[in-house]
C-alpha cells in the first residue's frame, strides 16, 4: 500500500539521566533504545512487553510527554520533534491518551461532565456550554453510560465505568489517534471484554487509529492488526498479529507466549512450557549484543557481542541472528 501511515516512528531513543551526584559516573537509563515502526490509518498497533521494557515510555514519547534524544516521530507525514504553538496544539488535539489506572487518571473533584468538557474548552471546540454539554451527553451514550451520569463524581463509578469516562474524555476533541496505555489491565476479566469491545466499536465508527500498549498478549492479539514485541528498549519482533501470536519467531516472543497460562485444564496441565531463566537486565547497563542474549537458550557468542540487524521473514520483521539468510 502506498498510503501514508498516520504515525511513523524512526529509530527513536528515549533516555533518562539518573546520575546521582555531580561527581558520580554518568548513569543513563536507556528506556527506549532505537525503535522504528509505522501505524496505518484506521488500524491498531499492539505494543507488548513486560514491565520495564520501555513500552509506556515509548507511548509517552509518541504523545510528546517525553522528548526523544535521537530519532524522530512523524504524525501524518510531519515531523513532530520541534513543533510549537498552534501546530503543537493541533497535534495534541489529534492525539489523545487513555491511561492504565482509572482511579488515578480522573480528577476526583470534577464531575464527569467537567472532565469530559475540559478538553473541549482547552481546544475551543464549541462556543457555548450548551453545545459542550450536549456533546458530553452524546459521548456518554457512545461509551455506554447514562446521560444523567454527567453530574456525578468519578468515585461513584466502578473501575470499568471509570475507564469508559476516560474513553469519553479522549474522544471529546475528535482525535485521529489514541494511545491506550494498558487500558484494561486494572480491570476484572468480565469488564475487560466490555472495554475492548467498546474500543473496537468506536474505532470502526470514527475511523480512529490506536497504539495499544499491554502486557497481556492474548487481549492484544485480539484487538491489534499488527503487534510489536518489546524487550529492554528494543522491538525484537514486528508483524501481523496472528503471525506473531500463532507463529512466533523470536525466542523471546516464543517464551512470552508459552508463559501465558492457558485457560484449559487438559492443555495447561500437559503442556510443557519454555520457562525463562533469570530476569530482565537493567536498562542502565544493557547487554552489548542482542538485548535478550542473557536469557536466551539459543544465544551464541555472536549474540553476546553484536546487535542483530532486522531480518524480513514474510510480512514480519525479526531482530535475531537465527533467521539470517
Amino acid at each position: 500500500m502506498s498510503e501514508q501511515p498516520i504515525l511513523k516512528v524512526n529509530n527513536v531513543k528515549t533516555h533518562f539521566d539518573v546520575t546521582k551526584g555531580i561527581f558520580s559516573p554518568k548513569q543513563i537509563v536507556k528506556a527506549v533504545d532505537g525503535v522504528s515502526f509505522e501505524i496505518k490509518h484506521n488500524e491498531t498497533f499492539g505494543l507488548v512487553g513486560e514491565s520495564g521494557c520501555g513500552k509506556s515510555t515509548l507511548g509517552r514519547t509518541i504523545v510528546k510527554l517525553y522528548d526523544p534524544v535521537e530519532g524522530n516521530i512523524e504524525f501524518e507525514g510531519k515531523d513532530i520533534s520541534n513543533i510549537k504553538g498552534d501546530e503543537l496544539k493541533a497535534f495534541r488535539k489529534n492525539v489523545q491518551m487513555i491511561f492504565q489506572d482509572p482511579y488515578a487518571s480522573l480528577n476526583p473533584r470534577m464531575t464527569v461532565g467537567e472532565i469530559i468538557k475540559e478538553p473541549m474548552i482547552i481546544h475551543k471546540i464549541y462556543d457555548t456550554d450548551e453545545e459542550r454539554e450536549a456533546r458530553a451527553v452524546e459521548l456518554l451514550k457512545i461509551v455506554g453510560l447514562k446521560p444523567d451520569h454527567i453530574r456525578r463524581y468519578p468515585q461513584e463509578f466502578s473501575g470499568g465505568q471509570r475507564q469508559r469516562i476516560g474513553v469519553a474524555r479522549a474522544l471529546a476533541v475528535n482525535p485521529k489517534f489514541i494511545v491506550c496505555d494498558e487500558p484494561i489491565s486494572a480491570l476484572d476479566v468480565s469488564i475487560q471484554a466490555q472495554v475492548v469491545n467498546l474500543l473496537k466499536n468506536i474505532q470502526e465508527e470514527m475511523g480512529l487509529s490506536y497504539l495499544f500498549i499491554a502486557h497481556d498478549l492474548s487481549m492484544v492479539k485480539y484487538i491489534s492488526d499488527e503487534i510489536g514485541v518489546m524487550y529492554l528498549g528494543h522491538i525484537v519482533e514486528l508483524g501481523p498479529s496472528n503471525d506473531v501470536y500463532y507463529r512466533p519467531l523470536h525466542p523471546y516472543t516464543q517464551a512470552l507466549l508459552s508463559a501465558i497460562p492457558v485457560p484449559d485444564p487438559d492443555t495447561a496441565k500437559s503442556k510443557s512450557r519454555i520457562v525463562l531463566e533469570g530476569e530482565i537486565p537493567s536498562p542502565i547497563n544493557p547487554p552489548k549484543g542482542c538485548p535478550f542474549c542473557t536469557r536466551c537458550s539459543k544465544a551464541t557468542e555472536r549474540c553476546r557481542n553484536q546487535v542483530p540487524e532486522p531480518v524480513k521473514v514474510g510480512e514480519r520483521t525479526v531482530w535475531c541472528f537465527l533467521y539470517e539468510k
Partner: protein
C-alpha cells in the same frame, strides 16, 4: 476427613455507609494435598473468606453466628472461643505453622527494614525449638528450595535488593518454613510479569508435588487455575455459585456466570477475531445485595424467581454442584 471444613461462613463489615455483606453463607472443604482454586472478580468475597478463616479479619469485620470452621480436626470458629484473646492466641499458634499465607504484594508483606534472614527465621523460631543456627540452616534450605541463586550471599540483604519475582519466592519460602498442611495463596502471581509468573507457578506446582501441602489458590486468572488446581470454586457476590473439579468447571460449566467468565476470555485457538462476549453490567453492591441470586442483574437467562429467591444447591456429581434456578428440578419440570 477433610483438612479444612468451612460451613455457613458469613462475614460482614460495619462501615459508615452501612453493613457490607462480604461473605454470604459460604461452605466448602479442602482435602489433604489438593489444590483448590477460588476464582472471582474484585469484591466477590474470595479474599475475605480466607482472611476470616486464617483469623486476619480487619477490625470492623464480624463473623456471623452459625459459621463452623474446622482445620486439621480443631475447631477454629471465632465464635466458639471464650473470648477474643483466646482465639487470637490459638490462631497465632496455627498461623505460620500448620496454616500459612502467601500474599499478593510482596513489597507490603515483607518488612523493609529487616534482613531476609531475620524474616525467614522468625516463623521457625516462633513455632519450633530450633536454635538460631539451626534456623539459619533451615532458612538456607528454604531459599534453595524456592530457587534463589547463591542464598548464602543474599541472606543478609534487605527486601529492596530483591526483584519482584525473587521477593515472591522469599514469601513462598517463609510460608513453607514449618511445612504447613495448608497454604493459602492470595493472588500470588498477579503483581508479576508473565515470564516471572510462569517461574512462580512452576515453583508452586513443584511444591505441591514435593511437600503434600494442600493449597488454596485465590485468583481471578482462569489460566492460573487451569494450570494448578484440582478443584475450582467460582465466587460471585459473596457466594460460591459453582464448585467442581477443574474439568467439570471448564468443560461442563453449569452456572451462567461461570459460562460468561469462560466466554469473555479471548480463545487462544481462534484466529478469527470474532467479538468477545462480555458479561454486561457490573457486580452487585454488597451493601445492599439482591434478595435472590447475586448474578440476576447480569444474567441473560434470569427469571422472575431469580430476583426474589435465593437458588438452592443442585448436585451433579460427588464433586460438582451449582446454585442456579435453571438447574433446579422444579424449574426444569415446569418447562
Amino acid at each position: 476427613m477433610a483438612l479444612l471444613e468451612v460451613k455457613n461462613l458469613k462475614t460482614d463489615f460495619i462501615t459508615d455507609q452501612g453493613i457490607v455483606q462480604a461473605v454470604r453463607d459460604v461452605s466448602f472443604q479442602v482435602n489433604d494435598g489438593e489444590v483448590l482454586g477460588i476464582v472471582g472478580e474484585s469484591g466477590s468475597g474470595k479474599s475475605q473468606t480466607m482472611y476470616t478463616i486464617i483469623g486476619l479479619l480487619a477490625e470492623n469485620g464480624v463473623v456471623g453466628d452459625g459459621a463452623d470452621i474446622k482445620f486439621d480436626g480443631k475447631d477454629i470458629t471465632p465464635s466458639h472461643f471464650a473470648n477474643k484473646k483466646e482465639y487470637t492466641e490459638a490462631m497465632r499458634k496455627i498461623r505460620g505453622n500448620d496454616m500459612a499465607m502467601i500474599f499478593q504484594d510482596p513489597m507490603t508483606f515483607l518488612n523493609p527494614i529487616m534482613t531476609i534472614e531475620n524474616q525467614l527465621i522468625e516463623p521457625i523460631l516462633e513455632h519450633t525449638d530450633m536454635t538460631k543456627a539451626q534456623a539459619v540452616e533451615r532458612a538456607l534450605e528454604l531459599m534453595r528450595l524456592v530457587g534463589i541463586p547463591s542464598p548464602e550471599s543474599r541472606l543478609k540483604q534487605y527486601p529492596f535488593e530483591f526483584s519482584g519475582g525473587m521477593r515472591q519466592r522469599i514469601i513462598i519460602a517463609i510460608a513453607l518454613a514449618n511445612n504447613p498442611k495448608l497454604i493459602i495463596a492470595d493472588e500470588p502471581t498477579t503483581a508479576l510479569d508473565v515470564t516471572i509468573q510462569a517461574q512462580v507457578l512452576e515453583l508452586i506446582d513443584n511444591i505441591r508435588n514435593d511437600t503434600n501441602s494442600a493449597i488454596i489458590m485465590i485468583t481471578h486468572d482462569l489460566g492460573v487455575v487451569a494450570k494448578l488446581c484440582d478443584r475450582i470454586a467460582i465466587m460471585y457476590g459473596g457466594k460460591i455459585v459453582e464448585i467442581g473439579t477443574d474439568r467439570e468447571i471448564f468443560y461442563e460449566p453449569k452456572h451462567p456466570y461461570t459460562m460468561g467468565l469462560l466466554n469473555c476470555i479471548s480463545n487462544p485457538d481462534d484466529e478469527s477475531k470474532s467479538p468477545l462476549t462480555p458479561i454486561p453490567g457490573s457486580p452487585p453492591d454488597l451493601l445492599d445485595p439482591p434478595k435472590g441470586c447475586p448474578f440476576v442483574d447480569r444474567c441473560d437467562k434470569a427469571m422472575k424467581v431469580c430476583k426474589y429467591h435465593m437458588p438452592g444447591e443442585t448436585v451433579f456429581s460427588e464433586t460438582h454442584s451449582c446454585s442456579c434456578w435453571l438447574q433446579d428440578e422444579r424449574v426444569k419440570n415446569n418447562e
